[in-house]
């Protein structure tokens, strides 16, 4: 009697562990198939930020803004929109951050300006795999490094 119960527990455990293993394997292989032959993304760390001006800039201010932005570390491109009065710039997010660029290049010009921010709620939506700090994100990058 106790022997039979033992056997049952043993096989249930083996079954459960086996199932968990299979599911994990499926996940790993699934991610593997998705990332196979995908090199690093171009522009992987290039981030975009925007600042809105409350009134139009004159040509002197525009020149100043462009040279200030251009002097920031990691800056890649500057696009000035004179219709909607804003500037969009892109930068390498390993070398600089949107807020520090705003502080050093725009805020110090003392013009009325507002950095464009995205609400935390909008930020939450998205794939967990694309967040490099989540478990799935880490698993994906480990697998990607292993097979590519």
């Amino acid at each position: 009697m106790t022997m039979k119960l033992w056997q049952k527990i043993k096989w249930t455990l083996i079954g459960l562990v086996g199932l968990a293993f299979l599911l994990f394997l499926t996940l790993v292989i699934h991610i593997g198939v998705m990332v196979y032959h995908k090199g690093p993304l171009p522009f992987e760390h290039i981030q975009m930020a925007r600042t809105d001006f409350l009134s139009p800039l004159d040509s002197k201010q525009i020149a100043q803004l462009k040279s200030n932005l251009g002097a920031q570390k990691g800056i890649k491109s500057i696009y000035l929109n004179t219709k909607d009065h804003n500037v969009v710039y892109s930068f390498d997010n390993r070398e600089n951050s949107a807020s520090s660029i705003y502080q050093n290049a725009i805020n110090e010009m003392h013009i009325k300006a507002k950095p464009y921010t995205v609400s935390a709620k909008d930020l939450e939506s998205g794939c967990p795999v694309m967040n490099n700090h989540s478990f799935y994100g880490k698993l994906t990058s480990v697998i990607s490094k292993a097979i590519n």
Binding site: A49, N93, M130
Partner: protein, 207 residues
């Protein structure tokens, strides 16, 4: 049940998955050798390489990727990506469109992959697929993507879908980006025609 049949229960699916995986790899390699292409794709590849010499065969020609060290890229794809990259900056600055693109202007932690990188890649995939007839875009269809209810990164609860006017502005921004890069007008015209084929799926009020 005998032990051996239980082991079999685990081994059989395992083998199936492995077989499936190895067959996928073979397909990938076959795809690489046969590359069909189109005159528009060749023209784009020819343009990005400085617009000299013959046009035929320039689209799928592999050249060094100026923005990704040590990687190679099809010249036609590089042309498309260059235009899309410029266009995304213009779109992010456009008050009418920025509301739909929260992830594009979202702050991410240092070293994290950015929304720009993802959208640049998938949008380039899509246009490359449409222009060159190569099957590189793997994402959901355009109707699914351009609705907040079915694709979280599109818009927000306040702006769940886009309309015809948004669509015109969007294509206008792409055209402006191409013009600023001196893409020939006839090529821009053909790209525009191609983009407008998606209007029915993207603008909810399209006729």
């Amino acid at each position: 049940m005998k032990t051996s049949s239980k082991i079999g229960l685990i081994l059989i699916p395992f083998t199936c998955i492995l077989l499936c995986l190895s067959s996928c790899h073979n397909n990938d390699k076959d795809d690489m050798t046969v590359i069909p292409t189109t005159p528009l794709y060749d023209t784009l590849g020819w343009f990005i390489q400085g617009a000299t010499g013959q046009v035929a065969g320039q689209g799928t020609k592999m050249i060094a990727d100026p923005d990704n060290d040590g990687q190679k890229i099809q010249a036609g794809r590089l042309a498309i990506r260059t235009v899309v990259n410029k266009a995304l900056g213009i779109i992010a600055s456009d008050n009418r469109l920025a509301v739909y693109f929260p992830t594009l202007l979202a702050e991410v932690g240092d070293g994290n992959t950015t929304g720009l990188a993802h959208l640049l890649n998938s949008f380039t995939d899509f246009v490359q697929t449409a222009v060159s007839k190569q099957d590189v875009y793997k994402g959901p269809d355009m109707k699914t993507v351009h609705n907040h209810a079915t694709f979280a990164r599109f818009g927000s609860a306040d702006h769940p879908t886009s309309n015809k006017q948004d669509f015109d502005v969007f294509v206008g921004d792409v055209a402006q980006a191409a013009q600023s890069l001196n893409v020939p007008a006839s090529v821009i015209g053909q790209l525009g025609t191609l983009l407008y084929t998606t209007e029915g799926d993207i603008a909810y009020d399209a006729d």
